[in-house]
């Protein structure tokens, strides 16, 4: 009985502490996601981004065999999660999804440029753009295979 009480008090304290710890952190973490305009804004950026890459002669060929509607859902999910939004990316990991594409640094950077163009067009502040790019940049190590 007594141990039960102690357990409950401890659990309560931990939960309250966790709540206190996550509350302000969540508000701050989600700031980049909000700067993109939340889920709707993010979907618009990804939409425009995919239009941009499909007309970019440097990388358009890599998107030809891809289902664009599916990619749109996955990218929106991924960017939402990376910017601190309430999403969980459920697609394949970067390494296996780019394994046989033979991508170079130039391809990777072309994609980043198209994303920058789309983000700028959507009015995403530059600091928020760079925060997403900071999360994407190290993925180069898994994506570039040539």
């Amino acid at each position: 009985m007594r141990t039960q009480l102690i357990k409950r008090v401890l659990l309560g304290t931990v939960m309250a502490g966790a709540l206190l710890a996550t509350q302000p952190a969540r508000a701050a973490d989600d700031a980049v996601f909000q700067a993109f305009g939340g889920k709707e804004g993010m979907a618009r950026v990804v939409d425009d981004f995919l239009v941009e890459v499909q007309k970019d002669p440097r990388i358009a060929m890599f998107f030809a065999p891809t289902s664009i509607p599916r990619l749109k859902v996955q990218l929106t999910e991924q960017f939402c999660q990376l910017t601190g939004g309430p999403c969980v990316y459920q697609g394949a990991d970067m390494k296996s999804s780019h394994a046989n594409m033979g991508l170079t640094h130039a391809h990777f950077n072309a994609l980043a440029e198209d994303l920058q163009i789309a983000m700028t067009r959507a009015g995403v502040p530059n600091a928020a753009q760079n925060k997403l790019l900071a999360k994407l940049a190290p993925m180069q190590r898994d994506i570039v295979t040539r």
Partner: protein
Amino acid sequence: MQTIGTWLGRGLAAAGLMALGAASAQSVPKPDMGKLLATGGVSQVEGAGGGGLTPWALITGYGTRDSYGANAHYTVVRTGEYALDTYGVAVGLMDRVELSYARQAFRGTGRNNPLDDVTVRQDIMGLKVKVAGDAVYDQDRWLPQIAVGAQIKSHQGISGGILNGLKPRDLGARDNSGVDYYVSATKILLDQSLLINGTLRATRANQFGLLGFGGDVHNHYRLAPELSVAYLFSRHVAAGLEYRAKPRSLRLASDEDAYDAFVAYFPTKNVSMTLAYVNLGRIVEALNPQTQKGPYLSVQVGF
């Protein structure tokens, strides 16, 4: 040293022309221009890829590790009593090696300036090799991009005004020509939209080498720190501050530390413009007690 510098300079200029020629030749792959905008930096005052005063660890041009890039630049600095003009070419190979060649002309101006019309020239050959890290991709690591470099400076004599026909040795320098060695570390903190560079230069150069190397105060290499911080306002615009220490080997050359505040604009990967306000300190205090400060403008074209 001068003949070696000149010879190497000619070889380098030829290599640069070959690289430019190769761009149009069928047998050699076209330059990929694959690096992100601004990530080759601009041309610093001695011709290396960097900021305005300081070389950075970034390799010049827009070629990725699979390609190459090249550019040419012209830079003018106008302080109260001096004018510095620099032009040069640089090549970046495989985003690993950078070769550069620049010519500087430094001139006294103004009727009341005892050094009016005195023109000092030097040629600078630069070599830089990236040895570790990647400034752009390593956003999840603390390691900066690190490069080591050398600037081989060969004096081209003094002409005009009261110093006509003299060499730096006639003014108390130990050598007319010499070599600076440096290590640079550049970190782009995308999360903060910041670029930070620290360079440590081993040098005996008096006023960048324009007044020779070593002198009557001392004649050994000194480690001079250089710092740059830039805020990335957009992918087209960066602005920041720089500091460069100098070794003070020659009594005649005041060799005070230099500072600048700059804005660099990258409309496309083919052209960049840098506008700065630079403070070079006092140059030759005995003759010009004024601190030398004024505008700096640099234009770079390339790929």
